[in-house]
Subunit: 339 residues, 2 copies
């Protein structure tokens, strides 16, 4: 892929499951005044599906269907480039997922990674992924757990960090999709310190503030009460925070989790690093359910995604809202600009 | 203690640590228009300390210092009864905690329990406890963990439940002050089902709604994803919810904790039952930090307390706010009226 010189970032968007709401929320976003013109957009998806989605509502965006991935892209305001990596789908009915559709969704993801890796490092770029069904994807690609893990492997990344960016809070869980009973034994000084390093290096990218204040959650109630209610604060979290503070400012912790989110809401803390999924995500979704964006750090570039699923039940009905996808795109563009 | 016939509830208030902010926030509350007249108030505390607290600000409440606990109480609007169970404190300086003060605080707590148990069951009553320092109390009364556990033992209660009542949320943690790594193994079908029974029986008392909707948190991320991320939802929580639903309506769960608090904020759920301390308390304090009241169920009567500590650092300076204590008193009165 060649791209004519431009000062705009390039945002690749993968289609996601063609039977979900991905195609329509992408195309609605492309037509939205708050997104249009922010970047050069390259949608990696089934061209027919994407064009159909575009025609499904009035004032769909102008589309430039690329003949091949090698074609040169000319940045043109408001024109959406579509590159289709594979044979067209035989059938893709909104709301009716199929193995063929899941396979194409994964093909598009692989193609987006290929295309992005082919661009010069210096070119400002980001990836936005529309939702696919993990369960269905795992049927055609055994071992598929989710976008984050797929991209970690595709980029041979040592550590990827998942960041939830919302209007009210920014939250980073150190551990993610593991049972609660395994959380304590999954924590280590190195894992927490490395996560803090990745978060500290990317503060501007996460929340637009270079000197963002990071609050690190305790694991146990009342911060462990000096070891009386668990020792992980003393043995693991405090040493990790000390290690990180040798190199970075504005990090504090461990802070009791029933204090840190309150302080974050008061804007005393900008980014909360939680020890496990629900510790961060429950407070986050409580106040940022509709405005949450999932961001992945640790790849060659930023990746964001809207914070909703395929929503097969409402796909193709013209009622899916594109607010979260637009938010994901705007956060990706902001991140590229501040990195 | 004898009390002349009245249709008002009787609220006992324990002084808490005499060197903390307890005495002053109690007396400020007694003078507050939103509290005055709500109930017959009996303060169990050091009489000198309480009177000094009352004189420390303008418009302190009228005080009736009882000669003994046997004296009859005549309900009189706006007059606060003070009963002192023991020899007066030799010294009690605000901000300077002492063993003598801690011992007196515990004596007052014991006396309040004695007085309340001496009243007929049919008499509407509640207990409000001002804060004491657990660490300091444990020095004079080894084994003291906190009000909740003390009262459980004093009332020989099989199960006490801690409820956090706020303006925005009501939250009930099934397990409380234990390390996170012990949470999963501390859960059982019986413990959760019994907690749900206690909560269901007391819905009106907790939030003023007899048909309050109860949402039960999952333990693992995404509700365990059908057993892929932990089996406690399948093996423990769902069976407990089924058991409770045999006898009670309006209970649902397990619900992923990154959904249940969002729905509670939207008023689709009135009471959230969480599996562990921070799962409930982190979201709760985020939105109800200043308006939270701690309520204990499973005693012979309701007990509430403000959601702050002794605050030795500001005691006696006239700057402690009584909003949380007033809230605790109002919630106690509401609970008595609806039980």
């Amino acid at each position: 892929m060649r791209i004519s010189p431009t000062n705009k970032p390039i945002v690749f968007i993968t289609m996601g499951d063609p039977s979900g709401i991905g195609p329509e929320v992408i195309m609605r976003s492309m037509a939205s005044p708050s997104v249009k013109g922010l970047a050069i957009f390259v949608i990696v998806g089934d061209a027919d599906v994407m064009e159909r989605a575009s025609r499904s509502f009035r004032r769909g965006p102008a589309v430039h269907r690329m003949k091949s991935a090698e074609e040169e892209i000319f940045p043109e305001e408001g024109v959406v480039n579509i590159v289709d990596p594979g044979p067209p789908l035989k059938e893709a009915r909104p709301g009716v997922p199929s193995d063929e559709g899941s396979a194409k969704a994964l093909e598009c993801l692989a193609a987006a990674v290929r295309l992005m890796r082919g661009l010069p490092d210096s070119m400002p770029k980001a990836l936005v992924t529309a939702p696919l069904s993990k369960e269905r994807a795992a049927r055609v690609h055994p071992g598929f757990i989710g976008h984050t893990e797929y991209l970690r492997d595709a980029y041979s990344s040592k550590l990827v960090t998942m960041v939830m960016v919302g209007k009210n809070l920014c939250v980073v869980p150190v551990t993610r999709h593991i049972p609660l009973r395994d959380v304590a034994s999954s924590l280590s000084v190195d894992l927490i310190a490395e996560t803090l390093r990745q978060v500290s290096d990317n503060r501007a990218l996460i929340c637009g503030k270079k000197d963002a204040r990071i609050g690190v959650c305790a694991l146990n109630p009342h911060c462990g009460e000096g070891g009386k209610i668990g020792r992980e604060e003393i043995d693991i979290i405090a040493p990790a925070v000390r290690k990180a503070k040798k190199h970075y400012d504005n990090i504090e912790g461990p802070v009791s989790s029933d204090v840190v989110f309150y302080r974050a809401m008061k804007k005393e803390i900008d980014i909360v690093v939680s020890m496990y999924h629900d510790q961060g995500l429950a407070p986050f979704k409580m106040v940022d359910f509709d405005t949450g964006v999932n961001m992945t750090l640790g790849l060659g570039h930023v990746r964001t995604s809207p914070d909703h699923g395929t929503a097969f039940d409402i796909a193709g009905k013209g009622i899916a809202r594109s607010a979260s996808m637009e938010h994901a795109i705007r956060v990706a563009v902001r991140a590229v600009r501040s990195s």
